[in-house]
Amino acid sequence: MKVHGVQARGKEEIMTRRRIVTLALVAALGLAVPTSPVSAETPGVTGTEIRIGHTNPYSGNASAYGTIGKVIAAYFTKVNGEGGINGRKINFITYDDGYSPPKTVEMVRRLVEQDQVAFLFNTLGTPTNSAIHKYVNAQKIPHLFVATGATKWGDPQHFPWTMGWQPNYQTEGHIYARYVLKNVPNARIGILYQNDDYGKDYVKGFKDGLGDAAKKLIVMEQTYETSDPTIDSQIVNLKNSGANVFFNVTIPKYAAQAIKKSAEIGWKPLHLLNNVSNSVGAVLKPAGFQNSKDIVSTFYLKDPTDPTWKDDQGYRDWLAFMKKYYPEGDLADLGNVFGYTAAQGLVHVLKQCGDNLSRENIMKQAASIKNLSLPMLLPGIKVNTSPTDFYPIEQEQLAKFDGERWVLFGEIYDAGKK
């Protein structure tokens, strides 16, 4: 310190000259600032651009989800074509991670450290997001609307920079519980679930929803492993337990088996089928439409194959968008509705940010969405967040299978409200 001071005194003249240069620089910067008010603060944000990072499996086992990244990119092309957001164009940078967590880490670091994105949006997959969860929170990068159904993404206390999007498994379990409590007076519940985090998440939400009654109402719990060839014996056990409500938490292959087996052995409970397996083509058709009749499940997006929405404005806008901006996309794929809706949610947040696109403000605005309706959400379902609620969509509607298609019924269930 001292040595430095002596040197400085000896070079007083240079110091003053340097000070003048500094002052001139500050002045020049001062002049430059108004034209791009936030460029100095947030990486990836200039007066004309917002850079957004994204990872998605375009290749590998999970590449069926690749369409979500493509539809989001197409939607931002549309937004940019219409003038962008507050005059800024969206520069959407998306990389393939092949659903491999180490690749996700590498790609996300590339996005953050090299491409200098302002934030991450809708990165897809539970294991892939788990791998970057700590990193993005340590770097304080907004990690918005992640595309996974696990429950751990809405934990603002420990991970204030990560936010979920779709209704999570616990939320859905909650909704079935409320339906049972209200509509089945002498419920005796049997549960079949996959013995992993996915299955346990559902069951936890379901039990929380039943509350104190859970112990009394649930008469049997059965599990299976994804390596099991069939679940026939579990179904027989559940029937013999005398259950009249069947909560079916299985992936498509086993869901179809469960539906078929219960019909075979003449077990006719109220069948609650998790959203994971409510695809008509992949589950109900192979299980047999007659066997699937009266099964109950949940929905939150408008199914583009459902003729109910034929004349709906939201559906028609989506269809027009798909034809113009993403003509190669599959019109029957719910992923294209999912990505479209998530992108609209993000555009809402960015508009709400105004000209303050600091990372703090992006996070703050994402956590203050009030009653937002989006055109491809089921009527009545609204997006809501708060500084303590990082679960944007928590409402779903029940539907019953009429032998040909799902028919929505009843009110919108809101798991956010107790």
Binding site: Y58, G60, G98, P101, P102, E106, R109, E113, P127, D196
Partner: protein, 324 residues
């Protein structure tokens, strides 16, 4: 011949100097990428000992990579063992696993062995999900990235890079010694003519199983390092594609060549990224083109071509040096 040796030695020294300077010249993200190159290089060297030198084809080395990674992850997660200690343990576990797998594999040759190891690659991700209590199931295990030890003013990225480089250098020197000596000659003899090798008194069964074990141990150490560097393990990481990628790496890098492991690692780390930069729509088609071009222009791998160039250089400089 001695000229080529000298060139080779000079190149190794230059490469090491470059490797040491690298993390200071690059961003954290790039250092992380080169750490991954180092990790792949260790895994590739392991596979090359088995496939390149010993002639046993494995389509299942991703499985040993997974076992190494999970050994480290479980020790860190359940017992808080210092990460430096978990890496040799992971190597040992894989040594035993590889040796045991090598015994039944003795009955299988060529493509049949390839299929048996392929089955291993298919089975491991599911087995990992089965032991959920230990492995965290499909959600995997989240770890913490290690900081540089106190006293070293390195960023975590630089520290991980140097740790990997250190392990890599040690393992490369060990394998060079192993392969240049008596054992190495026996391993290669088994590949070239097993009957002749046996007639010469080589215990082929023992050598083949041991080679399998050593190969698995190298790959396991790589897996352990990757768990520490990525700070996360999940079954989806260790799918069949990883095993195939490793095989691509040794063939492109150069079969039966130690330096080939590094070239192969650079290829499998960076070429998929370049392919993606060139075309978002069909990155794997571009990757395929790269692969075909490499195989056509360098049929003996990058290391093989480099050796050819070195020999030519040595001859040229030897000729020029003569008159002086």
């Amino acid at each position: 011949m001695t000229g080529a040796r000298a060139w080779e030695r000079a190149l190794v020294v230059a490469a090491l100097a470059l490797a040491c300077a690298l993390p200071f010249a690059l961003s954290g993200f790039r250092a992380f990428q080169f750490t991954q190159v180092g990790i792949y290089a260790i895994a590739l060297l392991g596979l090359n000992i088995l496939t390149g030198y010993n002639g046993q084809i494995s389509l299942g080395h991703g499985a040993f990579y997974a076992i190494g990674a999970y050994t480290t992850a479980i020790m860190l997660d359940k017992w808080n063992v210092p990460y430096g200690l978990t890496i040799p343990v992971a190597g040992l576990v894989c040594l035993v696993a590889g040796f045991l797998f090598g015994i039944p594999a003795l009955r299988l040759e060529g493509l049949y062995l390839a299929l048996a190891t392929f089955a291993l690659a298919l089975a491991v991700p599911q087995i990992l999900k089965y032991f959920e209590h230990w492995t965290g199931g499909s959600q995997g295990i989240v770890l913490s990235r290690p900081e540089a030890p106190a006293g070293l003013t390195l960023t975590p990225d630089q520290w991980l890079y140097f740790m990997t480089l250190g392990v890599l250098v040690v393992l490369f020197v060990l394998s060079a010694n192993l392969l240049r000596g008596r054992t190495g000659r026996a391993i290669v003899a088994i590949r070239d003519n097993p009957i002749a090798a046996q007639a010469m008194g080589v215990n082929t069964a023992l050598y083949k199983s041991l080679t399998f074990g050593v190969s698995a141990a190298y790959t396991g150490v790589a897996g352990a390092l990757s768990a520490v560097a990525v700070a996360f393990v999940a079954p989806d990481t260790f799918n069949v594609f990883l095993s195939i990628t490793l095989l691509v790496g040794i063939v492109v890098g150069g079969l039966a060549s130690i330096s080939g492991a590094i070239f192969g690692a650079l290829f499998i780390q960076f070429v998929p990224n370049w392919a993606q930069d060139i075309s978002k729509a069909a990155p794997w088609a571009i990757y395929g083109i790269f692969l075909i071009v490499f195989m056509y222009t360098m049929p003996r791998g990058i290391a093989g071509s480099l050796k050819l160039v070195l020999n030519r250089l040595a001859r040229a400089s030897g000729g020029a040096g003569g008159p002086v």
